[in-house]
């Protein structure tokens, strides 16, 4: 039906898409204000990191017993959130889900932002960051840290390729667009590596995207499984679990999907993309979030109910701290407001509308962050042997302002990466949207128009 669209109609439809998308590329006042705010915040937080470098990790609340604190929890959260790229592009993309078209690039940008900064978060947790290079010089393959470094790097690379490949036709389409400054047009032309939009090129492109989408599945599963093994490979109570891999991966989908919804909401609002990121897309993503949350809930039940039934001596101490001890308020808030109540609410269609869904997702994301905190910290407060002959602050972990600031810095960096990428490149894929609307050869049409 669409294929019968007259050329003029195609042209005007394409012009609207290009205008809508290209309008958001480049620097404007809002961008200045937002980036200025982020930069300022970043500098304040970097000062905190300077203090940590000068005085040692002791400026954070971590001590000999709870030696992994907020940084590691945050690292797990970042790796988790980055999995959304794989879920959307690979899992949904390969299974032929059509509605991901306007969402995929946002998901990919989020993935790159979080995965890239995750590496920095780990560096902020190192006592000797200047020795980072030792990991590459003296790396021992039996250490899960080496596996993590390998797969996270691979994931960032594949995600970059998966961002770039579908960008090529768009860059060509925009390379003659008078709305963009000359230098950007030239950069686009260069980056579009001689794209012409021929059938052969499209076949190659589709093939390449497909190969990359397949490749990213095991890599994405690996990054979070290996991250879970940082804990599960020890014999500590609360970490010594065989389901940690899938438990982490499903939790990652929850955090990532929720973050994607929030990002979509803001892009839709600020970039005026109501015609592309429609209620329909939010509805679909709401359903997706319900699905992944239900799976995660299932893993939570397994992870807590089974040991709670047996109450082995050390498990009992750990679970008591979570269920009724001093971690209880956080534990139950996370389970209720971060998982259970959102699931129930999102079952109703009206809560899957953009605004309510965004608000629910906000709760889910915050819950996801604290969930990682609860996975990382309480276990270390209950070692096998009693904690004695040490100051009080060794026994219970209390995050400090400085480590909070350094953690905030990592979020600022993610937001900066997402902002810059979304300003430097079209956030919605033009050619795929055009193809879906029956516009053929958008490359040719757009250039015709320019000339």
């Amino acid at each position: 039906m669409d294929s019968t669209l007259p050329v003029d109609a195609q042209k005007s439809a394409l012009k609207k898409i290009i205008d809508d998308v290209a309008r958001n590329i480049g620097i404007n006042k809002k961008f200045h204000a937002w980036m200025g705010f982020l930069t300022l915040l970043l500098f304040v937080c970097l000062y905190a990191y300077y203090i940590q470098l000068r005085d040692g990790l002791g400026v954070a609340g971590i001590r000999d017993y709870v030696s992994w604190g907020m940084y590691i929890a945050n690292f797990v959260f970042f790796v988790a959130s980055s999995l959304i790229g794989m879920l959307i592009t690979a899992v949904l993309g390969l299974s032929g889900v059509k509605w991901i078209t306007p969402v995929a690039r946002i998901a990919e940008i989020i993935a790159i932002g979080f995965a890239a900064v995750a590496g920095l978060v780990i560096v902020s947790d190192m006592g000797r960051p200047e020795r980072l290079v030792y990991v590459f010089i003296y790396g021992r393959i039996q250490s899960p840290i080496l596996w993590d470094v390998t797969v996270v790097t691979t994931y960032v690379l594949i995600s970059l390729i998966l961002l770039y490949l579908p960008l090529i036709p768009d860059l060509k389409i925009l390379s003659r667009n008078p709305m963009l400054p000359k230098w950007l047009q030239k950069t686009y032309e260069l980056l579009s590596i001689n794209w012409k939009g021929t059938n052969e090129q499209y076949q190659l492109l589709h093939k390449a995207i497909k190969i990359m989408s397949v490749l990213i599945v095991p890599v994405a599963l690996a990054i979070h499984t290996v991250t879970s093994w940082l804990f599960a490979s020890t014999s500590r109570v609360g970490w010594d679990s065989t389901i940690f891999g899938p438990y982490f991966v499903t939790g990652a989908f929850v955090a990532g999907t929720a973050f994607l919804i929030i990002a979509m909401y803001f892009f839709r609002k600020n970039y005026k993309l109501h015609d592309y990121l429609t209620d329909f897309h939010f509805d679909k993503l709401g359903k997706l979030l319900v699905l992944v949350s239900l799976v995660y809930l299932y893993f939570n039940i397994n992870e807590f109910l089974v040991p709670a039934y047996k109450l082995k001596a050390h498990d009992a101490v750990h679970l008591k701290a979570l269920f009724s001890g001093h971690h209880a308020p956080m534990f139950w808030s996370v389970q209720l407001f971060g998982l259970l109540i959102p699931i129930v609410l999102m079952l109703f269609k009206k809560f899957r509308k953009p605004l309510p869904l965004m608000l629910i997702s906000l709760f889910v994301v915050i819950g996801s962050w604290f969930k990682r905190y609860l996975i990382v910290v309480p276990t270390q407060e209950h070692p096998f042997l009693p904690i004695q002959n040490v100051p009080e602050n060794f026994k219970l972990y209390q995050p400090t302002l400085i480590e909070t600031a350094i953690t905030v810095a990592s979020f600022v960096l993610v937001l900066m990466i997402i902002t810059v990428l979304s300003k430097a490149f079209p956030i919605i894929t033009i050619w795929e949207t055009a193809h879906e609307k029956g516009i053929h050869e958008p490359e040719k049409l757009s250039i015709d128009k320019a000339e």
Binding site: L57, R131, L385
Partner: protein, 333 residues
């Protein structure tokens, strides 16, 4: 036209094939080169005979590739004492919490009062069983979880059974802290205790060298050179832990804690010789007999870590456990 395409195609095919062959050759060549280098490296390495944990004579590589670029002390520290299998026995019946072991240890290793290579814990296994004091050093496991997880070979297992830490290598990731079930590891969250003194010595040392005063410089050298077997000077942002006083063993002395104990709690010796010496009485006894006669055991045997520290149960304790110091903390049941 058709001919033309054919030509084009065959050229393309030819190029493709050439490409395949070229990349195949490069990869094959690289593999052969790597194999050749590996074989060559193997030949130059000396094999040394060692007793394994299972009492079997095995051949191990005498040279570890990671040993390149290490100082003499670090190299010597990684090798261990030939033919030895160090072992410690702690008699819980005799420990009355004198804490001389902790004091001696902290003094030797420049540690703060809250930093423990060895920590005397007040234990009570269950409600109706007797409380007792339990000195807890690093267990120097034969299957050490800390060594498995270390990403940079900063902590390592020596042939003589000791698990050591090289703080010139440690990146401070603290994975070993997370992995150790015995909470045996500490971290330098701040500047170590005697850091200032060390810095001053270092400055003075380079000053002396510049002046050409070699005699005084030599005297100072020991104080500014990192000794991996003593783990001194300690470093901010790195791990420290019990070292079984490897520096003392090298000169034929008992560990600091063992010698310092006034109550005869510690036995230390060589499993290969089947002999351990009591640090207080200096009496040497047969290790196997000591463990057999007193029902010796190791901590958390079920974790499979195979510690090199044995405990003798706290029966017929030589002291009354003070009522008020009963362990009743929330952290541990």
């Amino acid at each position: 036209m058709e001919e033309n395409t054919n030509k084009h195609n065959s050229r393309r095919e030819f190029l493709q094939k050439m490409g395949l062959i070229a990349s195949g050759t490069i990869m094959g060549g690289a593999a052969m080169y790597a194999g050749f280098k590996f074989e060559k490296a193997k030949k130059t390495e000396s094999k040394i005979k060692a007793l394994s944990a299972e009492h079997q004579l095995i051949e191990v590589d005498g040279h570890h590739p990671v040993q390149d670029k290490l100082t003499e002390l670090q190299m010597q520290g990684r090798e261990g004492l030939k033919g030895r299998r160090w072992v410690m026995v702690i008699d819980l019946a005799k420990c009355r919490n004198a804490r001389q072991c902790m004091k001696a240890c902290q003094g030797a290793h420049d540690l703060r009062p809250e930093q423990h290579h060895i920590n005397v814990l007040q234990m009570q296994d269950s409600e109706n069983t007797a409380p007792y004091f339990m000195p807890k050093p690093c267990q120097h496991c034969d299957n050490p979880p800390c060594v498995s997880v270390c990403p940079v070979d900063a902590t390592f297992k020596r042939d003589d059974g000791i698990v050591l830490i090289d703080n010139e290598r440690c990146i401070g990731c603290r994975f070993c802290v997370a992995a150790c079930p015995y909470s045996a590891r500490i971290f330098h969250w701040h500047e170590p205790l005697k850091n200032q003194e060390y810095e001053e010595n270092k400055e003075r040392y380079s000053q002396l060298i510049a002046e050409g005063n070699t005699q005084e410089a030599e005297e100072l050298e020991k104080k500014v050179t990192y000794d991996v077997e003593l783990n001194v000077p300690q470093r901010k942002g790195t791990i420290s832990k019990c070292l079984f006083s490897a520096d003392r063993l090298r000169v034929g002395k008992l560990p600091y804690c063992v010698s310092a104990c006034p109550n005869g709690v510690y036995y230390f010796g060589d499993e290969n010789e089947d002999a351990v010496t009591n640090g207080t009485t200096k009496e040497t006894v047969q290790l196997s007999a000591l463990l057999r006669d007193n029902a010796g055991y190791r901590l958390m045997e079920d974790l499979g870590t195979k510690p090199r520290v044995y405990y003798l149960p706290p029966k017929n304790r030589l002291f009354p456990f003070p009522e008020e110091s009963l362990t009743n903390t929330e952290q541990h049941s």
